[in-house]
């Protein structure tokens, strides 16, 4: 939790007549996430391997291709050497030169083929694995426990599904290449030693220096890079906030203060970026200097050896070529180290998601709930809690007969929503049993249970897509005519027809281009199309004008006709229309009866009724 103290000291320079700094910040303090993990974590690697396994043949092909590619890279300076020594400086060189050229041609063709195969296969496998991981996570999230979904913010899951998955891709693509780099590095070393071991050893003496320099540099640079990354996301966060909250900013004339606060963040970011640019560059002169040193050594020592006729000049040229290639694998290998660490941190987070337990499962050999089962609902001594210490429902028992409509009322936190969720088995009860159609919901498949129950949630959540697609939702069998009938039944048809493209009108984010009332009617139509025996409905509390309200009331009657209804009711009209009212308080069923009976009883219901005519919810 960010402390207000810290944020106040951030700007102690704006003061109005020497008073204390303003209570103002822009952008939120982000929750930091580990960017780097251990460089290698066997458990995570084996999980990642699990996703690569289906492509192991391609994987193997690409490794072989990388090896061939690397060998050709190594061979090229050797061919040049032989062209110079045997072709140019030998007595009868012409045929040797042509031989070398032909060899060169063969090698570059192999090089071409190997690099093509390797990059293409690696690229495709990496993309495949990436999409597979994402799909596995998405699919898993469909069935993990509802409590996990309740607790976890969508944004956090999204960053798993996107950011973390992407950093795995980077890892996969570079991992095969780094195999090549390793081979290349060893190959260069071997070739140099083979060509001339004295000169080779001398040249290689700069290697440890380079490694040490990079090892010192890496941890420091990483701190700076992370800082820059953080500063950037803080600044972006502040910008996003300004965009989302622009109406409040303008309404409260906060522009000047905010611009100054933003300037602080943007300046911090600028400085962090400059520092990181410096750190990124600081190694270049060292690497270049060392390359120069190695080449100078070859020139002096190698040149001397050529003068003494103990070394062929072609070998000297080959050395110069090798030295120039020498630093590439080292550079990319040290980079790969960071990529590995990042990938391990991401992999850790990904496996966390994949390992979230699925708490509600079909028992072995679960039967389908018979389509002709009666639409009855029963709670038998149900006790339920989300957290071990906080009981939500305590020993609740009731029965709802097929066709009956029951209104559930009670203050916020009384357990109404939990009752609703338990009928659909979003959670499993700790004690007692929930029965639908006379069968314990834990004994039937979730699929078949879902077909017996339709739900209308408080927030009429709509998906991007056409009106038609939204009403039909997953009932693929519903014809267009059936969809329209449902819309007509809830009184939404005329309004839909007045939309620019009627049923084909695309809804924007969450149905933002519809009014709240229209969204509710669509969600009613959607439930009607689902055509289930039991309807569970959480009435919306949002403010709707009285005319739309009327229409929704009418639609509700249509929706409930011929079905068993459990309604979390807020509106008096809904409550009055119910066959029975059940009053929940602190997880217990304290009263039930008709409106008049309950008023006469002068209990909690009567109290609630007098306190609020608008909402039974927000009563303290």
């Amino acid at each position: 939790m960010s402390s207000a103290g810290e944020t106040e000291t951030e700007r102690n320079d704006i003061r109005e007549d020497g008073r204390r700094p303003p209570r103002a910040v822009v952008g939120s303090h982000r929750i930091k996430e580990e960017m780097f993990g251990r460089a290698f974590d066997a458990r995570i690697m084996s999980r990642i391997w699990g996703f690569v396994r289906p492509y192991r043949r391609q994987f193997l092909i690409s490794v072989v291709a990388v090896l061939i590619f690397t060998l050709t890279q190594l061979a090229i300076p050797l061919v040049i050497r032989s062209a110079i020594d045997d072709g140019l400086l030998a007595a009868d060189g012409r045929s040797a030169l042509i031989r070398a050229t032909i060899l060169f041609a063969v090698i570059i063709l192999i090089n071409f083929a190997a690099s093509y195969v390797q990059e293409r296969v690696v690229g495709r496998v990496a993309e495949n694995v990436l999409f597979d991981i994402r799909e596995a996570m998405f699919s898993h999230l469909q069935s993990v426990s509802q409590s996990f979904m309740d607790k976890t913010e969508v944004g956090r899951l999204m960053s798993r599904l996107q950011g973390d998955v992407n950093s795995m891709q980077e890892f996969l693509e570079t991992s095969v290449i780094s195999v090549g780099d390793l081979v290349l590095l060893f190959g260069i070393v071997l070739c140099m030693l083979w060509l001339n071991w004295e000169l080779g050893l001398l040249t290689l003496s700069i290697l440890p220096v380079l490694f040490i320099v990079r090892l010192i540099w890496l941890p420091k640079a990483r701190v700076v890079f992370i800082e820059a990354h953080e500063a950037n996301s803080v600044t972006s966060g502040a910008l996003a906030e300004a965009i989302h909250g622009v109406r409040t900013v303008q309404g409260m004339t906060r522009q000047t203060v905010n611009l100054q606060l933003y300037d602080d963040k943007a300046t911090t970011n600028l400085n962090a970026q400059l520092r990181s640019a410096m750190y990124a560059q600081v190694l270049v002169p060292i690497v270049d200097g060392l390359t120069g040193l190695a080449m100078a050594m070859v020139v002096v020592v190698g040149g001397q050896m050529v003068l003494n006729q103990t070394l062929d000049v072609g070998v000297m040229v080959a050395f110069l070529f090798f030295i120039q290639r020498f630093f590439d694998p080292i550079r990319s290998l040290t980079m790969q180290y960071s990529v590995m660490q990042r990938a391990m941190a991401s992999g850790q987070r990904l496996t966390e998601v994949l390992d979230v337990p699925v708490s509600v499962t079909d028992p072995a050999g679960a039967m389908a709930l018979a389509p002709d089962a009666p639409g009855s609902v029963e709670f038998r001594n149900v006790s339920f809690r989300y957290e071990p210490t906080q009981p939500v429902l305590r020993n609740v028992s009731f029965q709802v007969a097929p066709g009956e409509t029951v209104a559930l009322v009670g203050p916020t936190g009384s357990g109404k929503s939990s009752v609703m969720s338990l009928i659909h088995r979003f959670y499993d009860v700790q004690d007692g049993a929930v029965l639908v159609g006379g069968v314990d919901v834990r004994q039937v498949t979730q699929e078949s249970l879902g077909q017996q129950i339709a739900m209308v949630l408080q927030e009429p959540f709509l998906f991007t897509g056409t009106v038609m697609e939204n009403i039909r939702y997953n009932k693929a069998a519903a014809t267009d005519a059936e969809v329209m009938d449902a819309a007509r039944a809830v009184g939404a048809h005329d309004r839909i027809m007045r939309l620019p493209q009627g049923y084909d009108t695309k809804l924007t984010e969450r149905g933002a281009n519809l009014s709240m009332g229209q969204r509710q009617l669509l969600s009613f139509a959607r439930a009607l199309v689902a055509d289930a025996k039991v309807l569970v409905l959480d009435e919306a509390t949002s403010s709707i004008d009285s005319y739309t309200e009327q229409q929704i009331q009418k639609a509700l009657v249509t929706l409930l006709r011929g079905r068993t209804g459990l309604v979390i009711a807020h509106r008096l009209a809904t409550i009055r229309n119910a066959d029975r009212i059940m009053v929940l308080q602190a997880g217990q069923l304290i009263e039930q009866g008709t409106h008049d009976e309950l008023l006469a009883a002068e209990g909690r219901y009567a109290q609630l009724y007098k306190a609020s005519h608008a909402s039974f919810d927000d009563v303290d």
Binding site: E135, L239, H244, R254, G292, G517, S543
Partner: protein, 618 residues
């Protein structure tokens, strides 16, 4: 139609503006040039960095060209031993070695300076663009923000800005480097041996062309891939946000299939990208090696013929290796130009917008004396639907101490009236005055300091409770914050939180219910001491008893101001001094609750409706 049209034009993003933004993706040639010129001019605001970057580039490139020559010399020096004597050859080798070391190190230093300074020019440009963007966003009027999706604005401020700011380092400097390397280096090769030089450079046109074409292709597929990935993330995001609906309908398999479709369509394009990339890198490398093989063959024959030395041949080959990388980067340069022209064009289009609602030049501050608000024949239509009148001939006067109630069906114009008072939009006909001053003639800042709106949608900032309450006046003393939250019936709740007023709202902090958010919004406006306080249907989620307590608490202060109350619930505005009943953008009835009931008109109708569903007790 009216309900939808109203909701679309008032608050909801219309797709049109977004489409307009999207179309600028293919910019005209002239716009591209103008955009790049503008970015370059911005770079000129840090002139020293620019000069350092360019000078370092010049040095780094020149030094890089020298290295192969030195190495070539070294090779030749080993061959001259027989003619010139071992001593002299050895001394020459030492000189060359020292030169190689010095030149390499210097090149490294200049390359560092080149990269650092060109990056820093980019970062300074980015900083300035960011500040301009932020400032502009804060001042563009509601009409603009209504017409554009917030996600698109964020993309503009993050990705497009990034694309534009990088132009100097990824475009200009790289271009200079390439020009020097190819120009000077090529000249040097050709001057030594025309045909061998041409052979050595023969891969340059192909690699330059291929990398440019493939980068442009990659950019094209990238844009499409981005769109498909956006769809994919929308599928994921909606699924997670609506997971209860998904489960309520047992639609998990339906959702999995939806995801799979979106995923496959993005994967196809990802494949395509891999293929384009692989094909171009492989053929570019091949063309380079073919050139090298030809130089080796032809150069070898020339060495045999004695036209050139072995050292020259070695220098040619080394120089080719050096040139390979920058030539491949030609494609990135082309990409950078393409990216800058589209990103920059979009960004500058926004930065050049003038807010529709802005201060008149030399406008004075609002001077509140009597505190009288007057609407005179006001008519209005939203900028997004100019032909559709939302308000027509609205005339009313509210004096200090009065409470005016506004009621009417959805789309009748209540919220619009609430938004015109702080001049979130400008009226299209008639005028609104405060103490005789037309709202358009005074400064926006002074006006909005005097008009507070408690809106329907409450935006909570991720910061402490006190910062949220004191949003309009960050200098407000603690007592005032507590008073305001007490009046808004929020104090009890905040006081019970572990860190009280320092509890952070939102992510990992306290989450507020709809009613609490509305109360927060009320507290926010009570911090200010406005001459006009507007409640835009802002108590709908608050229960009647709490609402009554809030109004009791603020009634004490309402003698000093005009209160405008928009509501659906009659309970809320029954006690207003005057109630205006709106329908289709006109005032159809007005009077007190009792008068309106007696009128037996629209108001009565509403009353009966609500009585039936809520049980209004008058």
């Amino acid at each position: 139609m009216s309900a939808l049209a109203d909701s679309q034009s008032a608050e909801k993003p219309s797709l049109r503006a977004v489409e307009v933004m999207a179309q600028t993706d293919t910019v005209g040639w002239m716009t591209g040039v103008r955009t790049m010129w503008r970015v370059t001019k911005m770079a000129g605001e840090t002139p020293w960095q620019v000069v350092f970057a360019l000078v370092s580039t010049l040095f780094a490139a020149s030094l890089q060209i020298i290295i192969p020559r030195l190495l070539g010399h070294a090779v030749d020096q080993t061959q001259t031993a027989l003619t010139g004597g071992a001593e002299a050859a050895q001394a020459a080798l030492w000189t060359t070695a020292i030169l190689v070391l010095a030149v390499s190190t210097l090149r490294g230093i200049f390359a560092t300076l080149q990269n650092y300074f060109s990056e820093s020019v980019g970062h300074y440009t980015g900083y300035r663009l960011r500040m301009q963007f932020y400032d502009k966003i804060q001042h563009l009027s509601f009409g603009f923000h209504d017409s554009i999706h917030s996600g698109d604005l964020i993309t503009l401020g993050l990705l497009d800005l990034e694309g534009a700011r990088m132009f100097f380092s990824t475009g200009l400097v790289r271009f200079v480097l390439l020009a020097i390397l190819i120009g000077v280096g090529g000249y040097w090769l050709i001057s030594i041996d025309l045909w061998l030089g041409l052979l050595a450079l023969s891969f340059v046109p192909y690699v330059g062309w291929e990398s440019s074409v493939s980068q442009l292709k990659l950019r094209g597929t990238w844009l499409v891939l981005q769109e498909r990935l956006d769809i994919l993330s929308r599928v994921m995001e909606e699924n997670l946000a609506g997971i209860r609906v998904v489960r309520a309908f047992s639609a998990q398999d339906h959702e999995r299939a939806k995801f799979h479709r979106a995923s496959i369509s993005a994967l196809d394009l990802a494949y395509e990208r891999v293929d384009i990339r692989v094909k171009s890198t492989a053929t570019m490398t091949l063309s380079f090696f073919i050139a090298m093989g030809l130089v080796l063959l032809v150069g070898g024959m020339k060495v045999q013929a004695g036209t050139i030395t072995v050292g020259t041949l070695a220098a040619f080959l080394t120089f080719m290796t050096i040139l390979q990388m920058p030539v491949r980067q030609l494609g990135m340069l082309v990409n950078s130009v393409a990216r800058t022209s589209t990103c920059g064009a979009r960004l500058f289009a926004l930065l050049d917008l003038e807010p529709a609602v802005r201060d008149r030049p030399g406008a004075p501050a609002l001077n509140v004396t009597e505190g009288t608000l007057r609407f005179e024949e006001v008519s209005f239509s939203y900028p997004s639907a100019p032909l559709q009148d939302v308000l027509q001939g609205i005339t009313f006067t509210a004096k200090k101490g009065e409470t005016i109630g506004l009621i009417g069906p959805q789309g009748s114009g209540k919220t619009t009236i609430a938004q015109l008072i702080p001049r979130f939009y400008d009226v299209t006909g008639g005028r609104i005055t405060l103490d005789g001053q037309d709202l358009r003639d005074v400064t926006l800042t002074s006006l909005r300091q005097n008009v507070a709106v408690v809106s329907q949608d409450v935006f909570m900032f991720t910061t402490t409770m006190e910062n949220n309450i004191a949003y309009g006046n960050p200098w407000a003393p603690e007592e005032k914050i507590e008073q305001a939250s007490d009046a808004a019936q929020l104090h009890g709740y905040i006081d019970g939180l572990p860190e009280r007023y320092r509890t952070v709202v939102g992510e990992r902090g306290a989450s507020l219910s709809g009613g609490q958010r509305q109360r927060m919004s009320i507290a926010r406006s009570l911090i200010l001491t406005p001459a006009v306080l507007v409640f835009d249907d802002s108590t709908a989620a608050i229960d009647a008893r709490t609402e009554a307590r809030i109004f009791d608490a603020i009634r004490a202060q309402s003698a000093d101001r005009v209160t405008v109350l928009v509501a659906h619930r009659l309970n809320t505005l029954m006690h207003a001094d005057r109630i205006l009943v709106l329908d289709m953008g006109r005032i159809v009835e007005q009077g007190t609750h009792a008068e309106l009931l007696a009128l037996n008109g629209k108001y009565r109708e509403l009353y009966d409706l609500q009585h039936r569903s809520y049980g209004v007790t008058a």
